[in-house]
């Protein structure tokens, strides 16, 4: 029984979600199963809004419905400041948690693990973890939480996963162009399969401190189906100090260690 069950699991992995009949994958509960490794091919992370080619961004018509983000006047000035300083102040450059929704369309894969009660999104960049609760629980009663990824409570409307996200901090950007939000950000996401290997991700962003009205983005996510594809650790922020932690080994000439790779750098004494 055990062997049979695990073989089934392996087959499910090899099939990477899509059934032979092309139907979308589903949990035993009947709800769509978004489990898999996903990534956008869009240029959304460079700039959500329409933009011509820049040295630091490929051109794109953007993913904002209506073209431009409806900034309040004072907020637009801040956005322009962010844009001017984007080469040094984008939180991505510090390897900080990208936040919601940026992690979804950042050009690096993320993996969804889905159960009846939740979806766990693990991001390769920074190894962040976001849980979308689908167990009927509500946002925490306390209103002073400030999360990098927000607090995500989802429910199903037919085959669409609708997620209400709030309780943000104001540390994250929406893209590399300095589009931003405040702690008042409120997002409603809508996730649905277009086919077994494509998710349409839509989100409505509302923030009375920064935008004059709610606005929408839409991006497609494609399932990674390459053989052997998997997430690989990318803590990113550790790269700056990994040099201080060469794996410890004997200093040259101090002992009879003959098993180490002689071509590897020797730790400084």
């Amino acid at each position: 029984m055990m062997a049979l069950a695990l073989t089934g699991a392996q087959m499910a992995l090899a099939g990477q979600g899509a059934g032979p009949d092309g139907k979308i994958p589903r949990l035993p509960t009947g709800k769509p199963d978004f489990s898999g490794i996903w990534q956008t091919t869009s240029a959304a992370d460079y700039d959500l809004e329409p933009h011509p080619a820049r040295k630091d961004a490929p051109p794109s018509v953007g993913i904002v419905e209506g073209g431009a983000i409806p900034y309040l006047q004072k907020a637009l000035a801040q956005k322009q400041k962010n844009f001017a300083a984007r080469g040094t102040t984008d939180p991505r450059l510090k390897c900080w948690t990208l936040g919601t929704p940026r992690g979804i369309y950042y050009p690096e894969p993320f993996q969804i693990f889905e159960r009846r009660e939740d979806l766990t999104l693990v991001f390769e960049f920074g190894n962040s973890v976001r849980t979308i609760h689908t167990d009927g629980s509500l946002h925490p009663i306390d209103t002073d939480n400030e999360f990098w990824l927000g607090d995500s409570r989802g429910h199903w409307e037919g085959d669409t996963l609708v997620v209400d996200v709030r309780d943000f901090n104001d540390e994250t950007w929406l893209d590399r162009a300095g589009n931003y939000h405040s702690e008042a950000l409120h997002i409603v996401e809508r996730w649905r399969y277009l086919d077994a290997n494509t998710i349409e991700y839509r989100a409505t962003l509302d923030d009375l401190q920064v935008y004059s009205k709610p606005w929408n983005i839409s991006v497609l996510l494609y399932r990674h189906r390459e053989q052997g594809f998997q997430l690989i650790e990318n803590y990113c922020y550790t790269l700056d100090y990994e040099q201080y932690y060469p794996f410890p080994k004997a200093s040259a000439g101090t002992d009879n260690d003959t098993t180490s790779d002689p071509s590897a750098p020797v730790a400084k004494p």
């Binding site: 069950a5 695990l6 089934g8 699991a9 392996q10 499910a12 992995l13 090899a14 035993p28 489990s35 390897c95 900080w96 948690t97 693990f113 889905e114 159960r115 766990t120 693990v122 962040s128 973890v129 976001r130 609760h133 167990d135 009927g136 629980s137 509500l138 946002h139 925490p140 009663i141 306390d142 002073d144 939480n145 400030e146 999360f147 990098w148 990824l149 540390e171 052997g228 998997q230 997430l231 690989i232 650790e233 803590y235 922020y237 550790t238 100090y241 990994e242 201080y244 932690y245 794996f247 410890p248 080994k249 004997a250 200093s251 101090t254 002992d255 260690d257 098993t259 180490s260 730790a267």
Partner: protein, 329 residues
């Protein structure tokens, strides 16, 4: 809402840089985890850690299974003996601790070494490696070189085995996968038969491939970057280490032992084994800021369930005047 979660959300719960780190780690060494980490002057409370390691044998799994046949071991877990201060004398504090503490008393009154084989409880280091470990251990309280700062204090993943002595953690299971959500990092165990990653890709948590043998999850860990330390006493492996982990789950569903054998001829004279006992935590437990950082969810229409908030570290890490973030009020 417990203050722990507010703290995590607001940004002072991550491991601090070494100089700032000394106070909380000493408190944890001598006090129960529910003690406030910064309350250095508080009188020590009675030890809540267990002093013995439960025996759990590998055998059939008699508990419930998931739809794919895996034993269902999902939920929250944490170690029962001590935190990550000291690998071979887990309740003995950090050697060289310059702060006067309660005398630890006779060794036999404390929990045994985490090294369960060899019988002397010591890692069989080659002489040069022992010297290096002791240099690092002394340097912990005098971090005059960058490498004396334990990487975890800089929010690096704790790796194996330290992740299992560093805060409580959660196990989530899926067809083909087991996911560990640690306080500092996540780790995916692959249950399919895929090959290991190419040898030149080295990872803090290694590359983990597992399978179930009855009540025991057996995991083969390779591709270790060997940068994480096992404890504040600075034990280590090399990039050539191979770890066979055996997670032996008790059929009482409340306990398991992490039993891992380290084979690394670069550093050790022989393979050795560590045993780290753990127990399950549920919503019946109090959120305590160490083992179980899970407040009750806002679930008015359903049963009591725990909330697992995001765990953020590097963005909130302190040590330089808490100025890591840009706009804190």
């Amino acid at each position: 809402m417990s203050t722990d979660n507010v703290r995590r959300a607001r940004g002072i719960a991550g491991p601090l840089f070494a100089t700032a780190l000394v106070i909380p780690c000493i408190v944890f060494a001598q006090q129960p985890p529910s003690a406030p980490p910064a309350a250095n002057t508080q009188a020590p409370a009675p030890m809540r850690w267990e002093k013995t390691v439960r025996t759990i044998t590998s055998g059939p799994w008699k508990g419930p299974r998931l739809a794919d046949g895996q034993p269902d071991v999902q939920g929250d877990w944490s170690n029962t003996i001590a935190n990550h201060n000291n690998f071979t004398d887990p309740q003995g504090g950090i050697p060289g601790d310059p702060t006067v503490r309660r005398p630890p008393g006779p060794r036999e009154n404390r929990a045994p070494s985490r090294v369960s084989d060899p019988a002397d409880g010591q890692i069989p280091f080659q002489p040069w490696a022992r010297a290096k470990q002791q240099e690092f251990a002394v340097g912990f309280f005098n971090p005059v070189k960058p490498e004396y700062i334990e990487p975890l204090a800089r929010c690096a993943p704790a790796g194996s085995p330290k992740s299992f002595t560093w805060h409580g953690y959660e196990i989530r299971q899926y067809p083909g996968y087991i996911v560990f959500l640690f306080n500092s990092s996540y780790r995916i165990i692959y249950l399919d038969k895929r090959p290991h990653l190419p040898d030149n890709i080295k990872l803090w948590n290694g590359d983990s491939h597992g399978h179930w043998e009855g009540n025991t999850l057996v995991v083969d860990v390779t591709n270790n970057n060997a940068k994480a330390r096992f404890a504040r006493t600075a034990e280590f492996a090399s990039e050539n280490v191979r770890i066979e982990e055996r997670y032996i789950f008790d059929n009482d569903r409340q306990h398991y032992n992490y039993v891992a054998t380290f084979t690394d001829p670069t550093v050790y004279t022989r393979p050795w084994t560590t045993t780290i006992p753990a127990r399950r935590y549920t919503v019946a437990d109090k959120s305590d800021g160490w083992h179980y950082e899970v407040p009750l969810a806002n679930n008015p229409n359903g049963p009591p369930i725990g909330d697992h908030y995001e765990r953020i570290c590097v963005e909130n890490n302190g040590g330089f005047g808490q100025v890591a973030t840009t706009s804190k009020k």
